[in-house]
Symmetry: C2
Subunit: 171 residues, 2 copies
């Protein structure tokens, strides 16, 4: 007694829980966890009239000072046009400095100023606090499992060392 194929445009009334072994609870949990994880810095950013894009740029420039523009584009996986406005604002506000590359003078190495370093720390503090709270009571093994899980969720091994994949030339 399967439902007939004619039942098109009938409302489906069964809640989606488990189907084909798909864990919807976990999928949803990841969504909520990330939403709240990013909400902390978002509040601070509005005071500076910055958005999430500024946060990402600031984070990576602080993580690896001297990063070139091409490397940054590669980590963020956005276009140079998208980066330009955000980067310009961070430079104008004195959070990031551009210094001409020494070996290749076409390159612009990006460095945080002390102001930029301070803001990066200010943004990371509530996120770190949230993580620390979430990890309370966990054993070393459990913490290691969480890190392994997160690492395995990432597609490739590009995280740490951007490989300077060249930007396409527009001709």
């Amino acid at each position: 007694m399967k439902p007939l194929a004619s039942k098109i445009d009938e409302p489906v009334r069964s809640p989606l829980t488990r189907h084909e072994g798909i864990d919807f609870d976990l999928i949803e949990l990841i969504y909520f966890a990330y939403r709240d994880f990013t909400s902390d810095p978002d509040v601070i950013l509005t005071d500076y009239e910055f958005g999430r894009a500024h946060h990402r740029v600031l984070h990576f420039v602080n993580r690896k000072p001297g990063l070139t523009v091409a490397e940054l584009l590669d980590v963020l996986r956005i276009t140079k046009q998208s980066l330009s406005r955000v980067l310009k604002q961070l430079i104008d506000s004195g959070h990031i400095l551009q210094i001409q590359g020494t070996t290749d003078r076409r390159q612009r190495e990006l460095y945080p100023t002390q102001k930029g370093r301070n803001l990066a720390l200010e943004l990371a503090r509530p996120q770190s606090r949230r993580i620390r709270t979430a990890l309370t009571g966990m054993t070393t093994e459990e913490r290691a499992a969480i890190e392994r899980f997160l690492g395995a969720m990432v597609t490739d091994g590009q995280q740490q060392a951007p490989k300077a994949v060249p930007q396409m030339h527009e001709d």
Copy 2:
């Protein structure tokens, strides 16, 4: 011999690793994990000319068929104006149905069609696969720890049962 306060606008050259006990590696890992987690459905969505917003609506309507518009707004934490365009497209494309509420006829209960249910499953499949792969080799305890961690990253207990906090009236 601390650096002098006069060193304003000097580039900060030290990479940001650990500072005040802030785990930047973990913060970054969460960013990459989520970015790649959402990239799977994003690829599928472009085929339907839908975006991430459609995905979220489709997900929650499938999770809890019969959800009212106000409940959906509460879960998503967006305004009705933001929802309207996306919801209209999902209705026009035959993925979601609106049915007048039985007790309160002002309410519109949202249900997926079979087509909408299928798309929700199609979008969840690669995400579930990624999670399953990332969990391979984990013990039951380790998996439980990961779930506890993610749950603890969420701010309140609003996840499952939306509390129908009323939308502000615009007068």
